[in-house]
């Protein structure tokens, strides 16, 4: 529809004839005059049907798709709707075409808030996603993905498209999905880890937005079986500080872009991007973090190999109080808790040059320097109880010369969830997959 304009564009068309098309958000009958809030991808605009058209417009029901021609008029002062970006105008309809009808809705889409529980939200995903608050989540998500790409391209990174069907289980045995691959078996990649590392040997600095799959047999509010990883890997690093520096730059750029492009969406959720300090995001070793937690709470996790969810919350709280930062890097996780390719700290090989970035009490990013020495990798694969043959393709990259390198991964849904303060990660995935649900309950 070439001459169609969007709802938000009507503001610049006062006194002009326009063509609009979209969904009936709400219909109100005021003494024979029909008021329709028309919704399109830009938002809402009020369309008024009087005279003969009112008769036809009376039939309209929520989610019918219509096209109208009409005249854009300023509203009288007292009829201005300050809640609506187009609330200063309305469109007087001159024609009405019905493009598609709708059955009666299972819930009300016309209210400012979508008051449905998570099951209904997901049972009616094609419909619930149409609500402005749900659209908002994925507009913020798009900004995150876009800023990720733009930032890395400016830094000289190359985008790659690694495969998701893989020949063997790599990072852990139990949590992987098996595929019937003709008369053989293959698996769904737990991450593009091995491929992005291989590609450092080709393009030095690479990134990808890759689907990753985890067959974790549990249903939580922060795990999905299929998610989108924003993956980064870079060669010729001096130390793993280079990686944290880049991760911080990414996060700062993402927050800045959200604040620039998504004010409307942030407001819907009464959300603000997390507080960041003027200087660098604070960093502390895992053992230091555990000491602090012990001092603050009396809970002794100082021998644990990782932080528990409540520890993550506590240390984030500490970082906020002490450094004015809602994000904090935790570094030097124990060697045994990290994958075989993690680079040990030369000063204390019990620990690694690895890091997590925690935000608002949850893990956002995980990364670290990798072992780039072929022999050391082969030995570690054995130590971790695997067979080097299984990693033949991966090991080639190191057998034939690999610079010092490392990388990290951000979970797209995790960041979306945490920026907007969503309670369940499923809200941050268009069609979330978990142990029980793949669109429908299996």
């Amino acid at each position: 529809m070439k001459q169609r304009i969007l709802a938000e564009e009507t503001l610049e068309k006062i006194g002009k004839k326009v063509i609009l098309a979209g969904w009936v958000n709400t219909v109100r009958n005021h003494g024979g005059i029909i008021f329709v809030d028309l919704r399109d991808k830009s938002g809402l605009v009020q369309v008024v049907f009087g005279g003969k058209l009112a008769k036809e417009a009376k039939k309209l029901r929520p989610e019918w798709v219509i096209k109208i021609e009409g005249l854009v008029k300023k509203r009288p002062e007292k009829l201005i709707n300050p809640d609506l970006p187009t609330g200063t105008i309305e469109v007087e309809a001159q024609s009405l075409t019905i493009l598609s009808q709708s059955e009666e809705l299972p819930f009300d889409l016309g209210k400012k808030k979508l008051n449905v529980n998570i099951s209904t939200l997901l049972d009616y995903r094609p419909l619930s996603l149409r609500h402005p608050t749900q659209q908002a989540i994925f507009k913020v998500q798009e900004t995150i993905a876009e800023t990720f790409r733009e930032t890395l391209k400016k830094e000289g990174f190359t985008e790659i498209f690694p495969p998701t069907i893989v020949p063997s289980v790599t990072e852990g045995g139990a949590q992987v999905f098996k595929i019937d691959y003709f008369d053989k078996k293959a698996f769904l990649a737990q991450s593009p880890q091995l491929y992005k590392q291989i590609m450092v040997g080709v393009f030095e600095k690479v990134f990808c937005l890759a689907h990753a799959y985890r067959a974790e047999p549990s249903v939580t509010t922060r795990h999905l079986t299929e998610y989108v990883g924003l993956d980064v890997e870079m060669g010729f690093i001096e130390s793993f500080n280079d990686l944290m520096e880049l991760a911080e730059k990414l996060i700062r750029n993402i927050f800045a872009a959200i604040n620039q492009k998504n004010q409307k969406e942030l407001k819907m959720f009464k959300a603000t991007t997390p507080l960041l300090p003027k200087g660098e995001i604070p960093k502390m070793k895992l053992r230091q973090a555990q000491e602090i937690i012990f001092e603050r709470t009396g809970k002794d996790c100082r021998q644990e190999p990782d932080l528990q969810p409540e520890d993550e919350k506590e240390i984030c709280q500490y970082a906020k109080e002490k450094f004015n930062s809602e994000l904090v890097f935790i570094t030097h996780y124990p060697t045994k808790k990290r994958p075989f390719y993690t680079y040990p700290d030369p000063e204390d090989p019990e620990y690694t040059h690895s890091f997590d970035l925690l935000g608002r009490g949850m893990e956002w990013i995980t990364g670290g320097r990798r072992i780039n020495d072929y022999q050391m990798l082969v030995e570690n694969i054995k130590k971790w109880g695997n067979k080097p043959e299984v990693f033949e393709t991966y090991l080639q990259a190191f057998r034939y010369g690999m610079p010092p390198e490392g990388g990290f991964c951000l979970g797209l849904e995790r960041i979306t969830m945490n920026v907007l303060g969503l309670k369940n990660i499923r809200e941050a995935s268009l069609f979330p997959r978990d142990m029980k649900r793949v669109d429908i309950i299996l």
Copy 2:
């Protein structure tokens, strides 16, 4: 390595001290002076090791990773290498650090052409990808993906991230991969088709770069079991011409971007982007195309529901001769040969408002208008031998109001292959998957 510069940047540093790092592409010993072609992501530069350093540099072997400090010097006129972008300079090494060693290579990476057969190319993928001609393929691929996104964002499209694990077989029974999904079965998406259509109900115009999976039990030079689809779907269309118009715009923008950014890569393959007419890309109905083929070759395919590979070649040849276009739209495929959601031509419902874009004898894009009427969709699902219950989530989008809409899909590897004139689609996939190979031969 903060002070490191890239090979191509040395041209601007004549007389200056620089730090370089990369892979040893070739080593030559000329009477005790060692000449190394150092390769990094920008290309090659010659580094000269004399004096004491020559002794150390003698040990260097192809694919060792090194870091050097050195002085950039103009080469004497007679030593200029016109084949090398940095051929007017060389770097006199002042220090050498070995970052990583390499085993002996299974083939020569230092030649201008990579002379290996397809098996070797894929058996040693991490290594073969390092050759400049192989890197070139994926630089062109990146341009295609990038231009696709940029064009659509400018047109008001929203990027979405649809899932790849799906609850049921959708577009055809046999060609789908089964997943062990906990104690249930799920499948790998043959395309994001149903999800992008659902999302028209939300964002009107959407696109995605989505992995798609086909369990076709055959090994050809133009099929992969996992590929990247550049998917587009848009609502509020007037007719399927809107879709072809957008597809043409995308193709023209992609060619323009390749010509602007990838001259070096095109030259390596002696390739040019396909010829396009000044006016629109020619369009013809399938039946017209078949008539033309019959007239030109005597081969009577006029009753066939589709074009065979040799027909596609013939009609592309015709379009080139007649319209000066290496691309041609074929429209109006028979209703029975297209998926259940394809919109029938109201003037002749035996045929559909569908199209393929053929280029250089091969299918590049397939698309069409979709049925947006709920009842008609339900009936068609039954006619095609499926159960509407299986499509419950998809059908919701239409039950609750969907504008006239349609879309199309470009295969990322297909376009890369055809632009560069590659003989096998595997060359256009970083880690190609087919019936027999998933990195290694299964």
